[in-house]
């Protein structure tokens, strides 16, 4: 009798637990075939980026009647949070209908994994091959196929300056080459500003280093560094590391503790004269009400436009491929690009946009985009895969503390041999 009661209690207890588990696992299969929802997965959750997305959604509503937009934004970590969520969803085979990814080499991870569909044919039907510059098309093409539609273009190799600090130091024109830039930095330093060039942690240092590389190697050899055509042990790379080391002596010593916005604040407060940063800084400075800024392409970069772009893809196994394609079409269309970029502060990838719709900085950038030679950026994923980007950031971080020039070159060369696509 005693046994049966104990056994009964145990059995009931276990059964109760199992039931609770079963309730929790009932699946919510919202999608399914014939769905008209398009889940758009981004890390645009606030600020100008959210405003840009809203603009795009409005356009999507008019262009794709019958489809509904579903916001799948994951905030935080400059996209790192979103990327980890995305990685697990892709692995589980439940991709969103479309997701945001940096155009270029960063997409390679998804392409190699067979997680995104080839949309080259749609490029022809939507007329995007004519609308985008040939250089961009070349950069987007992987083994003859295109997998993404860029929503915008940003430029990475831009130096931002505080005009007042420059005027105090008697600097009237933008430096034409690295030597002139160093001379200007000395002039500012002579005015008692100890760290005239503001910089932040590893990836911002990588951006500066890449700009120096473009100056010393030129556009083609620089692009070759990321495709395997140029050797990282090249003497020009050694010279770039030396130049970069010299530039670092003009920077704030607490660089590893700062993010780009902290470095931007140094420029705004007049504690620094210059900062190299992507052109999202223009929108940010405008938003923060700082008017007195100047900008120029990194000295010696000449007619190169170091681009990066946010793009959208068609994942394999998307619930609503038809809706996704309509979303992609909107993203690539002139109206969509205008709706997105005028609010986000970037420029359209299309060359047929009307500059008058855009603010002052963007007009200049749009003119350059038409004429200048596009080169990719590793710090922002257009030149290298995520693994390579991580290794490069780590190498620059190590260099920031150890200042070991030979070590940096070796680390970058090793990274290239590991990650370059053979």
């Amino acid at each position: 009798m005693r046994f049966t009661r104990r056994a009964a209690v145990a059995a009931v207890g276990v059964a109760a637990l199992l039931t609770a588990g079963a309730c929790g696992s009932s699946d919510d299969n919202g999608g399914g075939s014939g769905s008209t929802k398009v889940e758009v997965f981004t890390w645009w959750a606030d600020g100008g980026e959210k405003a840009g997305l809203d603009g795009l959604v409005k356009q999507f509503g008019t262009d794709c009647a019958g489809q509904t937009f579903e916001n799948g934004a994951v905030a935080g970590g400059a996209g790192a949070n979103a990327k980890s969520v995305l990685a697990s969803r892709l692995q589980q085979g439940t991709p969103p209908d479309t997701f945001q990814a940096h155009a270029g080499a960063e997409l390679l991870d998804y392409i190699n994994a067979g997680q995104v569909e080839d949309i080259s044919a749609d490029y022809d039907t939507w007329g995007l091959k004519q609308a985008f510059p040939q250089g961009l098309i070349d950069n987007l093409t992987v083994e003859g196929k295109i997998y993404s539609v860029p929503a915008n273009i940003h430029r990475a190799n831009v130096v931002w300056s505080n005009k007042k600090v420059l005027a105090d130091a008697g600097i009237t024109k933008d430096p034409a080459d690295l030597a002139a830039f160093l001379a200007d930095l000395d002039k500012v330093k002579a005015k008692g500003i100890k760290a005239p060039l503001a910089i932040g942690k590893d990836w911002t240092q990588l951006m500066l280093f890449e700009s120096v590389l473009i100056t010393n190697l030129g556009a083609d050899k620089f692009t070759g560094l990321w495709t395997g055509a140029t050797d990282w042990n090249d003497a020009a790379v050694t010279k770039s590391i030396a130049d970069f080391t010299q530039l670092l002596t003009y920077t704030n010593s607490d660089r590893d503790a700062l993010d780009w916005t902290d470095a931007e604040k140094l420029v705004m407060d007049g504690k620094a004269a210059y900062q190299l940063m992507g052109d999202w800084e223009a929108a940010d400075l405008d938003a923060k009400g700082f008017k007195d800024y100047g900008y120029f392409t990194f000295p010696g970069n000449g007619e190169t436009f170091q681009w990066l772009a946010d793009s959208f893809v068609l994942p394999k196994g998307a619930n609503n491929p038809e809706g996704t394609k309509c979303w992609l079409k909107t993203v690539g269309s002139a109206a969509g690009q205008k709706a997105f970029n005028t609010t986000k502060g970037s420029i359209p990838a299309r060359t047929d946009a009307a500059p008058a719709d855009y603010p002052k900085y963007q007009q200049a950038a749009m003119a350059d985009w038409k004429s200048a030679k596009p080169v990719p950026s590793c710090a922002h994923g257009s030149a290298c895969s995520q693994g390579w980007q991580g290794a490069a950031n780590s190498a620059l971080g190590a260099f920031s503390t150890k200042q070991d020039a030979a070590g940096l070159q070796k680390a970058l060369a090793t990274a290239a041999s590991q990650f370059v696509k053979k």
Binding site: F3, R6, A7, V9, A10, A11, G13, V14, L17, L18, A80, K83, S84, A87, L90, Q91, D109, Y110, N112, A113, G114, Q115, K201, D202, S253, D254, D256, A257, D259, K271, S385, Q386, G387, Q389, G390, A391, N393, S394, A395, G397, A398, S400, T401, K402, G407, A411, T414, A415, Q418
Partner: protein
Amino acid sequence: MRRLRHWGPGLLLLSPSLILLAVFVYGLIAWTTKVSVSDEHNALGSKGFVGLENYTRLFTDDINDRFTHSLKNLLLFTVVFLVGAMFFGLLWAFILERGIRAEGFFRTVYLFPMAVSFVASGVVWRWLMNPNQGENAGGLNAVLGGLGLDFAQSTWWTNPTWGMASMAIPAIWQLAGYVMALFLAGFRGIPAELREAAAMDGASTYRLYRNVIFPQLTPVALSALIILGHMSMKMFDLIMSVSGPQWLTEVPAIYVWQTLLTSDYAKAAAISIILLLLVAVVIVPYLIYTNRQEKTS
């Protein structure tokens, strides 16, 4: 059949948790081990078995010796953290045990930091340990500057050699109170008769603590060391919120995270397994020890 009647119902009651543990702890450890000996270096999946290559490459072939650098960081962090937390914990417990006024108040004050999450306190400490010095100083450096103690200003965690020691300061601040609580419980657990007997024998206060009280605290000290030690080895959130992921302050747990973000699953799994072994080296002897103690008592 009779034996089954004896332990059957008990086992049945335990079975849900046993199954959950088997799948979600031991099953996943096994899975991680499997991934760590494969060549799953990107989202493409595994092509085959590579033996211990991922492990050896971490030690011999990692760019800039990144992994050994993260181990060194972890070692410095752990040593400073353990010594600091044990020292302050014991000191506070000792003072409180001597029966000072408002003991309950101070106990709460010291214990309270433990209630704050590492992420929240890390954000504050990030600001406190601002590495700027002189006129740009902020946080603790500004306080030191204001007190005229400019020489004591530090670069904190951005120092290439001793940075991780600074990183241990928030951890000590947060967990010394916990060590104090453990020791205080240890002190209170020593029967009054022992103290009285020592007093009867004419032992001085020093002899009383040295020969009677502290030997009885050894198990407590060991528990405290083990608990702090394994927390320290898995340290992630504090460092992420103070410095963010970067070379300077990278420890294995952060390296795993960074590697996972780049889809190098095999490498991330190998680091995780090494981390697991490191913790096991500390935990398992302790478990065996306490198991024996329980059997003998």
